[in-house]
Symmetry: C2
Subunit: 205 residues, 2 copies
DNA sequence: CCTTATGGTTAACAGTGTTAACCTAATGTA
DNA sequence: TACATTAGGTTAACACTGTTAACCATAAGG
């Protein structure tokens, strides 16, 4: 009972923070806003979290779990290696588009946050890339993909997907471009680029 | 003489802001910091700029000009269509890596900024994509690339390059991945994906 | 019964963008 | 010359931000 109460407020803070994040966005996620919503003073949050960074890191952790679950789920639905990869790429983008607030704190927030990110959680976040890498590895093993370094390829996929998500959610892409077509094409282009032999360096002069 | 003085301070503010941006980064770019550096009060900036947004928008404009110049320059050096495109892709990433502060205010800063971005400057920013699109169009015309929509392809290139820049500069990419290899591979993969027929949709079950 | 720790509070600091009110010096005009 | 106006700049203040220090009541332990 005591233990419930002890961690009760911490849980309450975290829940309120998540709710505030998803409804009003990160810009409105302040210590005082959180505290006001639950009838506590802002400084009481510091009894359970070292700093705002600390609090956000726990939210990031939730987002990582969410994305990881969605990727593995998508991974299991498709069967063919390229189908698996394509499904995962689409799922990654879907997550970014559907949960922009989570995506923002996970992958967009300023580098300062990342530098202070605890090592153990950093390892957990890397599992996401490993899911993609294993799908690529699978494609290599079955001869569908021609690629030497699956981890490198996974990172290329990541940068492509990350670019799609961030430019779309920040509404920097021209309105005349259909978002769904852009997403589909970007995913297809990448998967295609793995299918045949790459690195045909063109002439420079 | 009067006109020089009239716009003299505005120019001084802008120069100081740019310097502050490149040396200390966007986080330290505050009205008071700018004012202190030139011996004026913070509120005097509002005599020449409507808001901080307004000021930043002018800095963004400078960044857009810079990037545009570098892309067209890179465009002119190479001759073959795929070489042109590859050179431009590399140049885009180089700009992002060498001027991260400019890149941040141009493409990373929160959507709120973009919504308030004046339409005329928005059009100017779009020229950057058009440079890429024209290179792709050139490749299509000469039969090197197989692609129907050059503007769509340019946007795919953009998302890929943007992803590379942001994930690298924010130090979210694993240390074991060589940045240069990632950059080169990402650029090559994209250009390659244009070379042959795309959109070979894989089986999903 | 006294001490100590738990769980919270308020006040305050240094910083942010921005607005309102003011003040001074130059200019334009009757 | 005398007065009004305006350009260019200031200070004070508001409503925020994350965070720290000091305080205070209540409960638990020896």
């Amino acid at each position: 009972m005591e233990m419930e109460q002890e961690k009760g407020l911490k849980r309450l803070i975290l829940d309120t923070a998540r709710q505030l994040l998803t409804t009003t966005g990160y810009a409105q996620l302040s210590m005082r806003n959180i505290a006001n919503k639950i009838g506590y003073s802002a400084t009481s949050i510091y009894l359970y979290f070292e700093s705002k960074d600390d609090l956000v890191h726990e939210l990031i952790d939730e987002g990582v779990d969410l994305l990881h679950a969605r990727l593995t789920e998508a991974d299991s639905t498709a069967t063919s290696p390229d189908g698996r990869l394509l499904a995962m790429c689409r799922e990654y983008v879907s997550f970014g588009m559907e949960r922009p607030e989570y995506y923002e704190i996970m992958y967009v927030l300023h580098p300062e946050y990342i530098k202070r990110y605890p090592a153990e959680k950093y390892r957990k976040a890397r599992r996401i890339l490993e899911v993609i890498a294993s799908a690529i590895e699978d494609g290599i093993d079955s001869g569908v993909f021609e690629e030497s370094d699956s981890m490198l390829a996974a990172n290329i996929a990541w940068t492509q997907l990350h670019g799609v998500v961030t430019l779309l959610t920040s509404e920097r892409v021209d309105k005349r471009i259909d978002p769904n077509i852009l997403i589909d094409s970007a995913c297809s282009h990448f998967v295609d680029s793995l299918r045949r032999t790459t690195s045909t360096t063109p002439q420079n002069n």
